[in-house]
């Protein structure tokens, strides 16, 4: 297991390198950062001077290797726009994004598990059908639309909740619900089908035959066994959420890494973009490793096999 772990880690490092190189190239193609740094009516000579001062006149490979050399030493460069360390900017915004994601995930997992378990337990009932239809429906909701509609209802009309920024717990409610909604559908159906699979299995039938109560079957037997696929799905969803919350963050003016990255991209603030890609990449890698380990620990089949 350890060598597999190390292999994955080594591969992840390679992936990160590839990702950072591609990002660098894409942003290089996007245009000249010196022009954006120059004053409104800068002459060509002034732009050239800025290009030199920042080293944009060097070949892209040299620029990339230079960046990489510093990155290895923990220096991700300084934002062209704010002149602050790029990593500092990202790490400053990251807690907000993580908080938002954590709340959204807590909301969607808890709702998804409850709804999914109930649907599976009362399979074929009206409630079950409602869950199936409802989950298809929530997965058809674009988050930009859901966000706007919630702002319309809860802020513009009812004046109950704030809509933008982050100055207290109440600011968290609308964005977290928006972000969670799509996932609730995924989780509810996932839980439902894993539960059904387990409920159909021999050992549950045996338990039932032995006269175990419905409650002990669901919570004592089925749910623990269905936990494995649920964890996998949660992990995969989480991996996509770090950088995937961008629409929600934009709609609610959430001061997270995604809004930061969006503005860095428009101003071609390369060090900030690179730091964003790197930090999000590392988070995804860590998440996947943790899920992988959990999987190995929890799954009786892999426990013995590897």
């Amino acid at each position: 297991m350890r060598s597999r772990f190390i292999n994955r880690l080594a591969f992840s490092v390679l992936v990160m390198l590839g990702v950072s190189a591609i990002t660098f190239l894409l942003m290089f193609l996007a245009g000249d950062p010196a022009a954006l740094l120059a004053s409104e009516d800068a002459t060509a000579a002034e732009v050239e001077a800025i290009r030199k001062a920042y080293g944009f006149d060097r070949p892209i490979v040299v620029q990339y290797l230079d960046w990489l050399w510093h990155a290895v030493q923990g220096d991700l460069g300084v934002s062209y726009q704010s002149r602050r360390p790029a990593l500092e900017l990202i790490l400053h915004a990251l807690p907000n994004t993580l908080l938002l994601i954590a709340c959204a995930l807590a909301l969607s997992v808890s709702t998804g598990v409850i709804v999914g378990v109930l649907a599976a337990t009362f399979r074929g009932s009206r409630f079950d059908r409602l869950v199936i239809t409802g989950s298809v429906f929530v997965q058809s909701l674009p988050s930009f639309w859901l966000g706007i509609v919630m702002i319309l209802i809860f802020s513009a009309t009812l004046r109950l909740l704030p809509t933008s920024g982050f100055r207290g717990p109440s600011y968290l409610i609308l964005p977290a619900v928006t972000l969670a909604t799509f996932q609730v559908g995924t989780f509810a159906r996932m839980v439902r089908s894993s539960m059904l699979e387990v409920l159909d299995s021999d050992f549950v039938r045996t338990a039932r035959a032995k006269g175990a109560s419905a409650g002990s079957i669901v919570f004592g037997h089925a749910l623990p066994n269905a936990a494995l696929p649920i964890i996998t799905v949660v992990g995969l969803e989480l991996g996509g959420l770090y950088g995937g919350a961008v629409v929600t963050e934009t709609v609610f003016g959430w001061p997270g890494v995604n809004t930061l990255a969006l503005s860095a991209i428009t101003s071609r603030d390369m060090p900030v973009i690179q730091a964003f890609v790197l930090v999000v990449g590392i988070l995804v890698v860590i998440t996947n490793l943790v899920i992988d380990m959990l999987y190995t620990i929890l799954d009786p089949r892999t426990r013995g096999a590897r």
């Binding site: 992936v15 674009p142 988050s143 995969l236």
Partner: protein, 298 residues
């Protein structure tokens, strides 16, 4: 774009034991979607106005049922006095065509790569699968904005971004099936009989994987429409004044408290369309490929 990762995670199919007569569950959504497609196709002939014809004296009219609404503009007008209903009709063209073309691009490139890489295996397979890993680790946003900043925002570049981010999913699905199929006897006998690689791939492997690819693609369509909407909402997709549902929502967002209909109605059209597409996709899966599960196929 928070939807982007969710596709492979579709839950397991409902139990196949369910009774399935030729039912209304398939016909009703198919019929409704058909209506939307027809409206999209016929928009220039059946829409009451031109999509970009402004009337500054009829700005911000509410929908018919609200005080101040008029029968001239059933769903009201936007800040330039353009008819919302007309623009929603034209928006259907944009949303459906981009969704469909993007899915076809993703599907064709992914299936080809998957077939070839899966059939030959070895370093070729490793290369594409590792490339796919890198691809999936790159935030869609960065990729989208990078491509669009480099090439300029346009409809074709939206499709390009969607294709680039999607081929991996199809390729993984295909590879997992090809690896299983190619071990079977009839492939070996075809090889012994001297069939060319090309013939084996397209005559023997391709037909085997088509059902699951089609099901996967039908579920992908809704997601692509949502992603296009999000990109256009962020200003990275279809450019105004071309009426796209996401772009219209972005344009009306600032006026949400005074003219709610501008931002919400186009989004509602997207919700309805995607929901119909998804319901159909689910039905299709139940029928064609009840065991499709992309999550663990890689």
């Amino acid at each position: 774009m928070s939807h982007a990762t969710s596709l492979p995670l579709r839950p397991q199919p409902q139990s196949p034991s369910k009774a399935r007569p030729i039912n209304l569950r398939l016909l009703i959504p198919a019929g409704l979607l058909g209506v939307i497609v027809v409206i999209a196709c016929l928009a220039p002939w059946i829409s009451p106005y031109g999509p970009n014809s402004q009337d500054l004296s009829a700005r911000l009219l509410p929908p018919l049922w609200q005080a101040g609404g008029s029968t001239k503009h059933l769903l009201g007008t936007d800040d330039l006095g353009r008819d919302i209903l007309t623009r929603i009709m034209y928006g259907a063209r944009v949303s459906l065509s981009i969704g469909a073309i993007a899915v076809i691009c993703r599907m064709v490139s992914g299936v080809l790569i998957g077939l070839v890489a899966g059939y030959f295996g070895g370093p070729l397979l490793t290369f594409f699968m590792r490339l796919g890993d890198v691809q999936l680790a790159l935030p869609t946003l960065v990729l989208a904005i990078g491509v669009i900043a480099a090439l300029g925002p346009s409809t074709s570049n939206v499709i390009l971004v969607l294709a680039i981010t999607g081929w991996v999913l199809y390729a993984r699905l295909v590879v997992s099936q090809v690896i299983v199929v190619r071990r079977q006897d009839y492939i070996a006998s075809a090889q012994l009989l001297g069939a060319s690689h090309c013939r084996i791939i397209f005559k023997h492997l391709l037909p085997n994987i088509i059902p699951s690819v089609i099901v996967f693609a039908s579920l992908d369509l809704g997601l692509m429409m949502l992603t296009e909407g999000s990109l256009s909402f962020l200003g990275l997709g279809v450019q105004p004044p071309e009426p796209s549902w996401g772009g219209m929502a972005a344009g009306g967002r600032a006026l949400i408290s005074t003219a709610w209909w501008i931002a919400t109605l186009p989004g509602a059209a997207l919700v309805v369309t995607v929901a119909l597409v998804n319901v159909l996709g689910e039905q299709l899966r139940d029928r064609l490929d009840p065991r499709l599960d992309a999550t663990r196929s890689a």
